[in-house]
Homo-oligomer: 335 residues x 2
């Protein structure tokens, strides 16, 4: 009887061992032999911006979170509350102190954050930049809209709306690189592709609804044949819409705006603004997370001696744009 | 006694059930709850080039294969054997007929493949382009070197080698876009950043070792103070090296070449060529595979109505460059 019990006990022990070994083997199989990219929930990737309440960041964070879900890792969001360089540096220092698996940063200033970024990279924390670059830093990649190409797309859309002819105007912020790039892409495309179209005037809108409204009203007054206005940012777009309504020219003057804040989308829904350029914000967040994951796990280009002269990742990513019109505007309202 | 045996049998059965259930649960956990990106071995992604024997494709294919391993999917390689437009179209048609999960293509001609590419996209087969674009096609993305930026990097390296002063020459293929971009990035960077450096002459090398050798010999003869030559492709680089050896100026004239064929690497090892620009070829292959995987599995930007005006993926990716010198040349020989 005692002998039998020992035999059964041995059998049970064998099974327990089998269960335990099986578990180990299964883990290894799913991680290696079947392939697949997945991290652990303990890996924490942090997205850092300035003006953390801004509507614009929401869809970038959505992409960052979706990337985290896809790869089974954790994400966090931090940002300075104000448009304040020192505050963003402090926030970035705090994030670095927690030693996250990676940091995706939109730099409020192209120079001021360089040494803090390099501090993170030197400490072995991968950093990528999105939307706003710090080109002298050692961050591994920059993911953003190619603003010149966005201007090209706006020009092609304007040409389509106006049957490839007529006078148009631009309201922008001269001297700011991203806005200058948008204007230049727009102007050069009209010159090169649409000989029957001309830019009648370029005016300063200061990124302000009232200033842009005044500028657009002047423009409409001075150029009675004006058939379209391209405005390179969202607040100004609202002002241009107000000016066109004020001049009783809704539907006669095609407005193309930029970005997809609620005000712009409402003006597309009611027909005042013809189209707006939506930036590939989800892509900025999603592919930033992917790049950080690849850096953290050493999955980038297998170069044994990585120095400053070697790019382990694509260095510059044009995250693309989409054109929003009345037909697809409902897809762009925040869900 | 029989009662005891029944109790033990029941216990053993319970363990067997536990093992089985555990296995099921573990599978599900690793596939869903923990996240992770992995496909199935039945998913086949195909890389298509022209001149399939060319050394240049090897590292791109390595990246494509590494991407397939990482995501647990199959990859294949097809290419026309010759530099022949019609042959590449035929190869692409054959690949489409097998309905792969995705196609990464380097287009031999920027126009001729457009309708075949669109046929694949219309049939629901995702296509991305790498290295050589077909800009009018409906392919989802283009991953390649930004040649202007590669020229900028060559200029910065040349300035470093020459102590920021002296006369230099360029040997290139005027009229070919990628070579013109490299030359322009090089020239404009010298003008903007290095006032004590000048471009003495730009000569045609025709992508041929002997022609480039002759051009470089003339240049060295005509400009005795020449301190450096930037040559925008690999065959010409060999010729320039021969000319510098022939003029007995090894070490006096700094040569910066392009790409990493064995001949160039050997000339870096022996000190004739100072540096060469390595393109981010592994990145072209790896991220092409990633993009196709994301398109195949519907993991791109969640926009319900994808039309031609919507970019589900980053549209243009600069895959980056690396600078190869005697210090790191051994990492670039094919393993």
């Amino acid at each position: 009887m005692k002998k039998m019990m020992l035999v059964y006990a041995a059998l049970i022990l064998a099974f327990l061992t089998y269960v335990f070994m099986y578990r180990l083997e299964d883990r290894r199989t799913s991680a290696w032999e079947e392939g697949g990219l997945h991290g652990s929930i303990g890996e924490n990737y942090v997205m850092v911006t300035f003006q953390s309440g801004m509507e614009y960041w929401k869809n970038i964070l959505k992409g960052f979170e979706d990337g985290g879900d896809a790869l089974g890792v954790s994400v966090d969001y931090r940002g300075s509350t104000q448009y304040d360089v020192e505050e963003q540096i402090t926030v970035l220092e705090q994030v670095i102190a927690k030693r996250p698996a990676g940091i995706a940063l939109s730099a409020i200033d192209s120079k001021a954050l360089t040494s803090t970024i390099n501090k993170a990279v030197d400490a072995g924390i991968p950093v990528v930049l999105f939307d706003a670059d710090a080109p002298d830093s050692n961050a591994y990649s920059f993911l953003a809209t190619n603003n010149y190409e966005a201007g090209v797309a706006a020009a092609d859309k304007m040409a389509q709306l106006l049957g490839r002819e007529g006078e148009v105007g631009i309201i922008t912020q001269p001297g700011q690189q991203n806005h200058d790039d948008r204007s230049e892409g727009f102007r050069e495309t009209l010159t090169q592709r649409y000989p029957a179209m001309t830019v009648a005037e370029v005016k300063e809108g200061k990124g302000d609804t009232l200033v842009a409204k005044g500028a657009a009203a002047d423009m409409l007054d001075k150029h009675p044949n004006l058939k379209g206005i391209f405005v390179t940012e969202a607040s100004g777009g609202m002002g241009v819409a107000d000016a066109v309504i004020g001049a009783d020219k809704t539907g006669e003057v095609a407005i193309i705006g930029f970005d997809t804040n609620k005000g712009t989308l409402d003006r597309i829904s009611d027909g005042t603004i013809a189209a707006t350029i939506a930036q590939g914000t989800w892509n900025m967040g999603y592919w930033s997370l992917q790049y950080l994951f690849h850096l953290h796990h050493g999955l980038t280009v297998p170069a044994p001696t990585l120095g400053n002269d070697v790019s382990p990742l694509p260095t510059r990513v044009d995250t693309g744009i989409s054109i929003v019109t009345r037909e697809n505007v409902n897809d762009y309202y925040a869900k």
